[in-house]
């Protein structure tokens, strides 16, 4: 999974396959972080809070 695992080889299959995995995980992670941060900022700016 990581280059320090002993199964790891710097060959095409690992690069493509693991690249795909980390790419997908990256998008999901970054996307969620972005959403959370934006929501925090929006809340701080007083958006969406009708009841408080």
């Amino acid at each position: 999974m990581f280059p320090f695992n002993f199964e790891w080889m710097w060959d095409m299959s690992h690069i493509v396959f693991m690249g795909g995995l980390w790419y997908a995980l990256g998008i999901l992670g970054a996307g969620m972080t972005f959403c959370v941060v934006k929501a925090i900022l929006d809340t701080a700016n007083g958006k969406g809070g009708h009841h408080h």
Partner: protein, 440 residues
């Protein structure tokens, strides 16, 4: 009692009725949980699997629910990426069904492996050449996507939505959902495919083996294609069942017809591909490996040519033709019949690609191995069904799953009053139209 949690403008059954329903399904769930605990603590000797049937009922259930859950990624793809905006009216439910299917699949896998506590080795010590690794990676990533898609729906619960941060979070997530949905479609393409690849790469099993395109056997593409075709049928079928149970129309016919039409054409093209695949396999692939078609369908008590006919013609060609024919499609009863056939068809296909693969003898002096599941296997397979029903019950009751429900089922004034009276703290609340997922 719980009316404060119930979405605005819709009617739900009394809480006792709801609780009773939960109790009945919950009992089934507990039975499944008991079987699951037996499997975990006593081991897989609780099943009727054996060295010939290393893959059995569970793996079939796994493949089947993932195919059926394919409605989520394909509807998402259609709506967010291709831009079929009409589907906003069913996307929530498609996501929920997908979420249930995928979480069930993961749970089944956790029971199925002999050493669940080591199951993370599939990530840690991944063999990138294995189709199963690809399945595991894409499956778990896509499950994250489904969770991301499901979260805003939860956050829209009337009470949660009052929290400004929650409100903002669900709002933002809706706004950028296309990014997640696109990633999900990409992941789904690969894991549906690699599930097909699981069987197709088995060059030691001529019944399963298929020629390759690049690194993928044909079953890779057939599985993705069939999930995209048959998955929406399951979404439609479950929607229909929900409508029957709640005795209300929940989604407008235009949405249903659109999805049914798309599914029909997907199925039609898929089944042509499947027929070509089958013919090529029967006439070229299998003979090159020393087998004739007869070897796969004779000398045993169950698997005959009937299964080919049932899968491809009866539950493939027939529902495809039904769905692409507007006249038939627009008849509610026939539409339901077509979706039922389709669901059987794809389940049968997954059965064949798991169970029959295990049953066919390969060495000339070997035997056809027959198998029937133990009660523990049946119970753990029903467990996700019970869990799914419960999740649908709760979600339907407390979350705005169907954007068109209120419009299609206007509340009678008294009922509306009664509903409103029960929740004085919500009376001043003004529903914000922008929050419904459909318009986000």
């Amino acid at each position: 009692m719980d009316s404060a949690l119930i979405p605005k403008g819709v009617k739900r059954c009394p809480i006792w009725q709801f609780a009773l329903g939960l109790g009945v399904v919950g009992a089934v769930l507990l039975w499944g949980v008991y079987a699951m605990i037996l499997c975990w603590f006593k081991g897989l000797n609780q099943t009727n699997m054996n060295d010939y049937y290393g893959f059995a009922l569970w793996i079939w259930a796994d493949l089947a629910v993932i195919a059926l859950g394919g409605g989520a990624f394909f509807t998402g793809l259609l709506k967010y990426v291709i831009g079929k905006d009409e589907l906003k009216n069913i996307i929530n439910y498609a996501v929920l069904i997908g979420f249930i299917c995928y979480s069930s699949a993961l749970l089944i896998l956790a029971i199925d492996v002999g050493q669940p506590l080591r199951s993370w080795f599939i990530f840690w010590h991944a063999n990138v050449h294995s189709m199963l690794t690809e399945v595991a990676f894409c499956l778990s990533c896509y499950f994250c996507v489904l969770t991301i898609e499901y979260i805003p729906l939860i956050l829209e619960n009337r009470q949660l939505d009052k929290v400004p941060f929650v409100h903002n979070l669900s709002h933002t997530m809706h706004e950028y959902m296309a990014v997640f949905a696109a990633t999900g479609a990409f992941l789904s393409f690969f894991h549906q495919g690699s599930l097909g690849g699981v069987a197709g790469v088995l060059f030691g099993r001529p019944f399963a083996y298929r020629e390759h395109l690049f690194i993928w056997p044909w079953t890779f593409f057939l599985f993705t294609w069939s999930a995209a075709a048959y998955g929406p049928c399951f979404t439609l079928l479950v929607t229909r069942i929900t409508e029957k149970i709640t005795r209300k129309q929940l989604v407008k016919d235009t949405t249903i017809q659109l999805l049914a039409k798309i599914a029909g054409w997907m199925m039609f093209t898929y089944i042509i591909a499947k027929i070509i695949d089958t013919v090529y396999w029967a006439t070229t692939t299998a003979p090159s490996l020393g087998f004739t078609l007869k070897d796969f369908y004779s000398n045993n008590p169950v698997y005959g040519y009937w299964i080919l006919f049932a899968e491809i013609v009866l539950c493939g060609v027939v529902p495809a033709l039904m769905l692409i024919t507007p006249k038939i499609r627009s008849n509610r009863l026939l539409l339901t019949l077509a979706t039922i056939l389709a669901v059987i068809g794809v389940s049968l296909n997954r059965w064949v690609m798991v169970l029959q693969v295990m049953a066919v003898p390969v060495m000339s002096f070997d035997i056809w191995a027959m198998y029937y599941p133990s009660w523990q296997e049946v119970a753990t397979t029903i467990l996700p069904v019970a869990y799914g029903i419960i999740l649908i019950m709760i979600s339907y009751r407390y979350l705005p799953i169907f954007p068109q429900e209120a419009e299609l089922n206007p509340l009678e004034p008294e009922a509306d009053m009664a509903a409103a009276a029960g929740t004085e703290e919500t009376t001043e609340e003004v529903p914000e139209p922008g929050l419904t997922p459909a318009e986000a």
